[in-house]
C-alpha cells in the first residue's frame, strides 16, 4: 500500500471535483435547454397542415432564392434539382452554383434543361472565386445556374447570394433533400415578425434507411447501420433539445449550412460565409449576432422544428470521425475569431449564455471529459479519491447522458410524433442508452483530434464519401 502525501489527496480531490463540476454544468445547461425546448414546442403555432399554411401565407410569402452549391454531383444533380423545382412555395428560384466541378455536373445540367448563357446584373458585395458563366433555362424559369471557379462551399454560397435578387436566401447542401413544404414552414417567422427576423434554421433528419424516390423521402425508416442509428439520436438531441432550447432563449449560435433561411441583406452586411473556416455556418450566425448587437438593432435568429430536410449520415468510423473532428475545429475557429464576445456585457445573452455554452460544451468539454476518463478511475483505484467521486463522475457522464437523450425522445414523441412506429421508438430508446457506452467516448476522441487539428491550423475538410440514398 502506497503512503500518499496529504497534498496528493488534496490535488486528486480538486481534479476530480473540477471534472465532475464541469460535467454538472453541462448537464445543467442541457436540462435548461430541454425545459425551454418543451416550452417552445408547447407554444408553437397550432396550425400544421400544408394546405392551411398555403391558404394563409401564399399571397404574402416573400420570394426566396434557394442556393444549392454543387461540386462533382453529376450522378445526382438532376434528381436534386427536380426535387427543388417541385417545392411547394409560391415564389422562389433555384440557383445551382457549380463550384468548379471536375466532372460533368455543368454539362449534365445544361443538356438536361437546355440551359443557355445569359447576362444577369448581379451584386458583387460578397467575395468569391470568379464566375465563368451564368445560365438560364427558357423552359424552367425558376432555374438559374452559376458556373464558377472552385472555391469551396462557403465561396459557392456567397456567389449564389450575390446572384440572388430575392429578400430571402435559403442555403442548402447539394445532397440535402427538402420536404416539399419546408420553405413554406421555414418562412413563418419572416411573416410573423418581418422587421426583426434575420435568420431561420430548420430540422435536419437522417435519411439513411428511408425510402427515397425522385429526391423525396417517401417513407421514413430507421437506418440499419448502428452508427447511423446513433446519429439519429444525436440529431434529435442537437435539434430538438439544443437548438430549439437555445432559440427560445434567443441565443441560437448555429444554423446548419445544410438548411438555413437568411435575410439576404443581413447576410451581405456581415460579409456572407467566411471561406477561411470549416465552421462557416456557425460563424455566419455569430457574425449576425455581433453585427445586430453592435448596431443595437432588435433582431431574431430562430430555429423552428417543423421544416424538415434530410441528409445522408456517414456510416463508417473513419468518415464520421473526420466529420466530427471538422465540426469541433469549426466551433473552435469561430470561438477564436469572436472570443472577445465571450462574457462581454456588450453582447448580452449571446456573450454570456451563447458563448458560455460554446465554451463549456465545445471548447473545454471534450478535454475535461477525456481527462476524467483518464484520471478519475485511476485516482480511485490508487485510493486517492473516494468511491463517491467515481460515482459522481459516472453520473455526469453516463446516467445523466441517458436521461438527456431519453428525455429528448420523450419530447419528440409527446409533441411531434414523427417516428412512424412504436418499434422505432423502442429501438431509439435502446440506442439512447447504448450510445453512452463506447460511442460517446469515441466521439470525444474525435473531438480531441479536432482540437489537435485546430492547434496545428489544419484547414482541410477531409473526405466525405457518400453511399447514396436508398432509391426505389
Amino acid at each position: 500500500m502506497i503512503e500518499w502525501p496529504t497534498w496528493a489527496f488534496r490535488a486528486a480531490e480538486i481534479v476530480s471535483w473540477f471534472v465532475v463540476a464541469c460535467g454538472l454544468v453541462q448537464v445543467l445547461l442541457y436540462i435548461i435547454q430541454l425545459l425551454f425546448a418543451a416550452l417552445a414546442l408547447h407554444r408553437r403555432p397550432a396550425w400544421s397542415s400544408t394546405s392551411a399554411l398555403w391558404d394563409r401565407f401564399a399571397d404574402i410569402a416573400p420570394s426566396i432564392a434557394v442556393v444549392a452549391p454543387a461540386y462533382n454531383e453529376e450522378l445526382t444533380i438532376i434528381e436534386s434539382v427536380e426535387a427543388l423545382l417541385a417545392l411547394h412555395y409560391p415564389d422562389f428560384e433555384v440557383i445551382v452554383v457549380n463550384d468548379g466541378s471536375k466532372d460533368t455536373t455543368l454539362q449534365v445540367l445544361i443538356d438536361h434543361y437546355g440551359m443557355v448563357p445569359v447576362a444577369r446584373y448581379h451584386d458583387h458585395a460578397l467575395a468569391h472565386q470568379p464566375i465563368r458563366g451564368l445560365y438560364a433555362a427558357p423552359e424552367r424559369p425558376r432555374l438559374f445556374l452559376v458556373d464558377k471557379e472552385n472555391g469551396g462551399k462557403a465561396d459557392a454560397m456567397n456567389a449564389g447570394i450575390n446572384v440572388a435578387r430575392t429578400p430571402l436566401v435559403c442555403v442548402i447542401d447539394a445532397d440535402t433533400l427538402l420536404e416539399p413544404d419546408a420553405l413554406m414552414r421555414a418562412v413563418r417567422p419572416f411573416i410573423e415578425d418581418p422587421a426583426r427576423t434575420i435568420a431561420v434554421g430548420g430540422t435536419i433528419r437522417i435519411a439513411n434507411g428511408c425510402r427515397v424516390e425522385g429526391g423525396r423521402v417517401l417513407e421514413a425508416r430507421l437506418p440499419r447501420n448502428f452508427l447511423a442509428l446513433v446519429q439519429v439520436v444525436e440529431y434529435l438531441r442537437a435539434f430538438l433539445m439544443a437548438r430549439l432550447g437555445l432559440s427560445e432563449m434567443q441565443t441560437l449560435m448555429i444554423i446548419s449550412g445544410a438548411f438555413g433561411l437568411f435575410r439576404r441583406n443581413s447576410a451581405i452586411e456581415v460579409g456572407g460565409f467566411s471561406a477561411d473556416t470549416v465552421g462557416e455556418d456557425m460563424e455566419l450566425v455569430v457574425k449576425l449576432h455581433r453585427r445586430m448587437r453592435d448596431l443595437k438593432r432588435p433582431y431574431r435568429i430562430v430555429y423552428i422544428p417543423e421544416p424538415v430536410s434530410w441528409t445522408e449520415a456517414p456510416e463508417t468510423l473513419s468518415i464520421l470521425g473526420n466529420q466530427r473532428s471538422r465540426w469541433q475545429r469549426g466551433s473552435l475557429e469561430t470561438y477564436r475569431t469572436h472570443k472577445d464576445m465571450f462574457l462581454n456585457p456588450r453582447y448580452g445573452r449571446i456573450g454570456f449564455l451563447g458563448f458560455g455554452q460554446v465554451w463549456i460544451v465545445d471548447v473545454i468539454g471534450p478535454i475535461v471529459e477525456v481527462a476524467g476518463y483518464i484520471l478519475v478511475p485511476p485516482l480511485w483505484m490508487l485510493g486517492l479519491v473516494s468511491f463517491d467521486y467515481l460515482l459522481a463522475f459516472v453520473a455526469v457522464i453516463f446516467t445523466f447522458g441517458v436521461f438527456i437523450s431519453v428525455a429528448t425522445l420523450i419530447l419528440e414523441e409527446v409533441q411531434l410524433r414523427r417516428l412512424p412506429r412504436a418499434r422505432d421508438l423502442a429501438i431509439l430508446t435502446l440506442v439512447a442508452v447504448l450510445e453512452n457506452f463506447g460511442y460517446r467516448q469515441l466521439n470525444n476522441f474525435w473531438r480531441l483530434r479536432g482540437w489537435w487539428q485546430f492547434l496545428r491550423k489544419d484547414t482541410g475538410w477531409g473526405p466525405m464519401v457518400r453511399k447514396g440514398f436508398q432509391r426505389d
Binding site: 446584373y121 446516467t399 421508438l425
Partner: protein, 344 residues
C-alpha cells in the same frame, strides 16, 4: 453531495426510461387505432366520391373524426360546384356541428382544425362560432378566425376586429396586411379610416396602407404622399410609403417619389426608384441616372429597372451610360440592357 449527484442522476434516468416505456406501449395502442381509422377512411372515401347526392345512412359505423377529416380534405381539394356538393354532404353528415363543439376543445390544435374547418361553411351558425373564436386565448386561433371571417360576406367591422385581435401593439406581421387586404377588396373605406386614424400604432396604419396599395385604390395617394414627405429620412416607414405609392402607380405621387430618390436612406431610394419606374415618372430620369452610380447594388439595380420602364427615353439614357459612363453605372446599364435583350 457527490452521492446526491449519483442518486439524482439515477432517479432522472430511470424515470425517463419508465416514461419512455409507457409511451412506447401507448404508441402500440395508438398505432392500432390509427390503422383502424385509416381503414375506415379508405372505406368511406369512395362512398363520398361516387354519389352527387348527400349520403344516406352508410356512415353510422365510421368514427366521427374520420367523417369530419375526410370531408374537410375533400372540400379543400376541389373548387366551384363540386366544392359546394362536398360542403352540402359534409353539412348533412353533421360536420359543422362537430366542428363547433371541437372549437371549444382544450387542445389548441383541435380548436385550430375546427376554425379552419368552419371557415369552409358559409352558414350563420358557423360564422357565429368563428366570431366566438375571435375571443380565443390563442393568438393564432384568433387570427385564423379573423381571416376566415374576412373572407365571408358578413364580416365584422374592422374596428371590432382590431380590438379583439389586440393589434394595437407596435409589432407588425405580414398576416395583418393579409387580413386588411380582404377588407380592402370589399370595404376599402374601413381600411382607409385606419390609415387616417392617428391614434392607431404606426404598424397598423402601415399595414392598412400596404393592403390598400394592392387594390390600386388611388384615393389615398395624397395622404400617403403627405405622410411620406413628413417621414424622417432614416425611418422604417418611408420605404413602405414609397413602395405603396409604387404599387398604386398614380402620378400624383410625384413629389414624394422625387424626394425619396434624393433620400440618404438606401431602402428609401430603392423603393423610390421602383415607384418612379412603375409610375413612369419621366422627370425622375436624371436622378435615376445618378443612382446608377450608387454604392449599393439594390439601388443601382432598381434605378436601371426604372429607366427601362420609362420607355425609349430611359433606354436611351442607359445606352448613353453603357457607352460612355464609368463603373459601376456603366456595368449596371450595360448588363441590364443585355439582360433584357436590348442592343447597347
Amino acid at each position: 453531495m457527490l452521492r446526491l449527484i449519483w442518486d439524482v442522476s439515477l432517479l432522472l434516468a430511470s424515470s425517463a426510461l419508465a416514461v419512455m416505456m409507457i409511451l412506447v406501449l401507448l404508441r402500440v395502442g395508438s398505432t392500432r387505432r390509427r390503422d383502424r381509422l385509416q381503414a375506415a377512411r379508405r372505406h368511406m372515401a369512395p362512398l363520398l366520391l361516387e354519389t352527387a347526392a348527400p349520403p344516406g345512412d352508410g356512415f353510422d359505423d365510421i368514427p366521427d373524426s374520420v367523417v369530419t377529416q375526410l370531408t374537410l380534405d375533400l372540400i379543400q381539394l376541389v373548387r366551384g360546384a363540386e366544392r359546394m356538393q362536398f360542403v352540402q354532404k359534409a353539412a348533412s353528415l353533421g360536420v359543422p356541428e362537430r366542428l363547433r363543439r371541437q372549437a371549444h376543445s382544450w387542445s389548441r390544435r383541435r380548436r385550430m382544425v375546427a376554425v379552419q374547418g368552419l371557415a369552409l361553411f358559409d352558414d350563420a351558425t358557423s360564422r357565429d362560432a368563428l366570431i366566438e373564436r375571435l375571443g380565443d386565448r390563442d393568438d393564432d386561433i384568433r387570427l385564423a378566425a379573423a381571416l376566415a371571417l374576412a373572407r365571408s360576406e358578413t364580416r365584422p367591422g374592422l374596428d371590432e376586429l382590431i380590438a379583439r385581435l389586440a393589434l394595437r401593439d407596435e409589432r407588425s406581421s405580414l398576416l395583418t396586411i393579409s387580413l386588411f387586404r380582404h377588407y380592402a377588396n370589399h370595404a376599402p373605406d374601413e381600411v382607409q379610416a385606419l390609415v387616417l386614424d392617428s391614434d392607431l400604432p404606426l404598424s397598423v396604419r402601415l399595414a392598412a396602407i400596404e393592403a390598400l396599395a394592392v387594390t390600386g385604390d388611388y384615393r389615398l395617394v395624397p395622404a400617403i404622399v403627405a405622410l411620406g414627405l413628413r417621414a424622417p429620412g432614416d425611418s422604417e416607414e418611408l420605404p413602405r410609403y414609397l413602395h405603396a405609392l409604387g404599387r398604386i402607380g398614380h402620378p400624383a405621387a410625384r413629389e414624394a417619389v422625387l424626394a425619396g430618390l434624393a433620400s440618404n436612406s438606401m431602402p428609401a431610394r430603392v423603393a423610390a426608384a421602383g415607384a418612379a419606374g412603375r409610375i413612369a415618372l419621366a422627370e425622375s430620369a436624371d436622378q435615376l441616372v445618378d443612382l446608377l452610380g450608387a454604392p449599393e447594388w439594390w439601388v443601382r439595380f432598381r434605378a436601371a429597372e426604372a429607366l427601362l420602364l420609362l420607355g425609349e427615353a430611359g433606354v436611351a439614357r442607359l445606352r448613353e451610360i453603357a457607352a460612355q459612363g464609368a463603373d459601376p453605372a456603366r456595368e449596371a446599364a450595360a448588363t441590364m440592357l443585355a439582360e433584357r435583350g436590348i442592343a447597347p
